[in-house]
């Protein structure tokens, strides 16, 4: 009963919902990026490495004197390049999306660490930058500009996917590439475009961590967020609106476990609370797996004239 009261108190506080939106932002951006790739039929397991790359590149640009929005742009460009690598391997070459994605993650992560160490050889305490500040708005609206950008991007991706010919093309190459080809669309070009754009979004998710949520780059700071985004895409049944809902719901649980950790920290080991997001993701996958309607051509490479 006491626990119930504590949870209720947490849930009605404005500070809680401010935290929820903040925690949700990288998940919103990452899930949106992965969703775009998968809608075009390409699983992108490079997400974890691309997020690390975005976090490092965005931060490094600002640390070298660029302004914050330039940092955001640099992150997106780096993400797009990594996406181009993944797309080249998986679309025209038709290589295993699983293995190529793991390779892109390994490359993105190691390259980020390499560059960081090269520029800052012996930084014991990570140097900091001046990050985005929350807007002066009341209550849970007091978010940094990147959170608002994420929310606008959800609407934008939903609009493009469902209301424009480009979106129709993306959905078509993910469902029935042969039919798309028959309509005169280039499956290869549409898929590459979707993966590059999606990967840029993933990099923004990483950049949010170093330019908005924190002010420095740490090793292992992405910490499995990319993998959770992949689970969230399934949970959202590949729809941008549901992806937003899923990310916020997930962040609410995460914020709640953080608060409960402070309340019940003395009784239970903190690791149990930290496990919750990962366990929750697996649970979500199991719950929706039965009725998940995957894009029909997901993970199936398309080669013209080959069945």
């Amino acid at each position: 009963m006491e626990l119930f009261q504590t949870i209720l108190d947490i849930l009605v506080s404005a500070a809680f919902w401010t935290a929820v939106l903040r925690i949700a932002t990288p998940y919103i951006l990452g899930t949106l990026g992965e969703l775009l790739c998968e809608r075009a039929g390409v699983l992108n397991l490079g997400i974890e490495g691309i997020m690390t790359m975005g976090a490092m590149a965005g931060w490094m640009a600002v640390y070298q004197g660029a302004d914050l929005w330039t940092g955001v742009l640099v992150a997106a460009l780096c993400g797009g390049l990594m996406g181009l690598l993944h797309a080249t391997l998986t679309v025209p070459l038709g290589l295993s999306q699983h293995v190529a994605g793991i390779g892109v993650t390994l490359l993105g992560t190691s390259l980020s660490y390499f560059v960081y160490r090269l520029v800052l050889p012996q930084a014991s305490t990570p140097p900091t930058i001046e990050p985005f500040q929350p807007l002066a708005l009341p209550g849970a609206l007091a978010q940094t500009p990147m959170t608002y950008m994420a929310l606008i991007l959800v609407a934008a991706v939903a609009y493009v996917l469902y209301r424009t010919p480009v979106g129709l093309a993306v959905r078509m190459v993910g469902e029935n590439p042969a039919a798309a080809e028959a309509q005169g669309l280039s499956v290869t070009a549409v898929r590459i475009g979707a993966v590059v754009a999606g990967s840029a979004l993933m990099a923004l998710a990483g950049a949010f961590l170093t330019l908005s949520a924190f002010n420095a780059f740490f090793f292992n700071m992405v910490n499995g967020r990319g993998w959770i985004c992949i689970a969230l895409v399934v949970f959202a049944s590949w729809r941008p609106g549901k992806a937003l809902l899923g990310a916020v719901l997930f962040a609410a649980f995460d914020a709640l476990q953080l608060r409960l950790q402070q309340v019940a920290g003395g009784v239970l080991p903190y690791q149990l609370f930290l496990m919750m997001p990962y366990l929750l993701s697996i649970l979500a996958l199991v719950l929706v797996a039965r009725r998940a309607s995957y894009p029909r051509a997901l993970m199936i490479p398309y080669r013209k004239g080959e069945r």
């Binding site: 070459l93 390779g103 390994l106 993998w227 689970a231 993701s281 797996a289 039965r290």
Partner: protein, 349 residues
């Protein structure tokens, strides 16, 4: 330009593919080394020297290769059956966890009995860790890539929790580490006054055994058939689900054994940095070996050499030792392309 499937792949092409991939990776990473301002050829020279230039370097490389052979085999057997086990890292830690629990004095057995017991139990723990995602896959259709990846994080948190709680070494000066295993649970050294231990022989033996199973038994045949085409295998009357679960136990078991062997052969106790990503590097090892159990040995020694050599190089030059991870990742991506070129040829038009 288009790709045209080859009728058959010459053996020379299969053997040449990893060599070409590694050469391409070294050439690409030379650009990164040049960017740091270090002389490229001298840097690679130092890397080679650090990996194989002396008796000490060689034993260090083989010590590092031992767990990589096992995680490489774990990835190879799983990927053969199209079971995407990316969770070897977590399975390795589960094996290590069992090793310090059973080997830490709980079982009072002579060495000849204790070591096999710990190894089998550790392998079983690793296998059980992968069995969960495999059951979710065959029963509910949950993609095992995400579940095995997420389990890595859960297992690490579990290990962290136990190392700060029940398993914490009272003599550990407050560090989160377990008490050391008893002497009877230590693997004997292979070469005196080095770190190389007999775990290497276990890994080599398993690689040979898996090759025999693969080529000489119905088990191996079923595994390959299910990986190549599960529907055709089911139509031919093969128990596809059972093959999947069997593969999961085998793959997770190999990764769990890697954890046992790291603890009993090298470290003696468990910490949170027992594995510098052996589970993930194992995937690269398996791909470089084109999923061949014997090829895994060569690939593991190569990858281990890169890590050991890069450490030596970065001590002498201002090149961060993360160059090793970049080289390994680049090798994987180049190997994918090289593997493709053994199966397809490029045609104009």
């Amino acid at each position: 330009m288009r790709l045209e499937p080859r009728e058959h792949t010459p053996l020379a092409a299969r053997l040449l593919a990893p060599v070409a991939a590694v050469a391409a990776a070294l050439a690409l990473c030379a650009l990164l080394v040049a960017w740091t301002g270090a002389p490229v050829l001298r840097a690679y020279g130092l890397l080679l020297e650090g990996a194989a230039g002396s008796r000490f370097a060689l034993t260090e490389t083989l010590t590092r290769a031992t767990p990589l052979i096992l995680t490489g085999l774990a990835a190879a057997v799983a990927f053969r059956a199209k079971l995407w086990n990316i969770g070897a890292e977590g399975q390795l830690y589960m094996g290590a966890l069992v090793a310090v629990v059973l080997g830490g004095g709980m079982l009072d057995l002579p060495a000849w009995l204790l070591l096999p017991t710990v190894m089998i139990a550790g392998a079983a723990a690793g296998g059980a860790t992968l069995l969960g995602p495999a059951v979710l896959k065959v029963r509910f259709g949950v993609d095992e890539v995400v579940t095995t990846l997420l389990l890595n994080f859960i297992v690490l948190l579990l290990v962290s929790m136990l190392l700060e709680g029940a398993l914490k070494d009272p003599m550990g000066m407050g560090w989160p580490q377990s008490a050391p295993v008893v002497e009877a649970a230590e693997l004997p050294k292979l070469v005196e006054r080095t770190r190389l231990h007999t775990g290497l022989l276990v890994a080599l033996g398993l690689s040979a055994l898996l090759w025999l199973i693969d080529t000489r038994t119905i088990w191996g045949y079923e595994n390959r058939a299910v990986g190549a085409n599960p529907r055709a295998a089911a139509f031919a009357g093969m128990p596809v689900t059972r093959v999947m679960l069997r593969t999961a136990l085998l793959s997770g078991g190999l990764a769990g054994l890697a954890g046992v062997i790291e603890v009993c052969g090298l470290k003696g106790y468990l910490t949170l940095d027992l594995s510098p990503g052996f589970g993930y590097s194992g995937i690269v090892v398996a791909m470089l070996a084109q999923l061949h159990p014997v090829g895994v040995v060569g690939a593991a020694v190569f990858i281990a050499g890169i890590f050991v050599g890069a450490d030596a190089m970065s001590r002498a030059m201002p090149v961060p030792n993360y160059i090793a991870d970049v080289l390994v990742a680049t090798s994987l991506l180049c190997m994918l392309v090289a593997g493709l070129l053994t199966r397809y040829r490029l045609r104009r038009g």
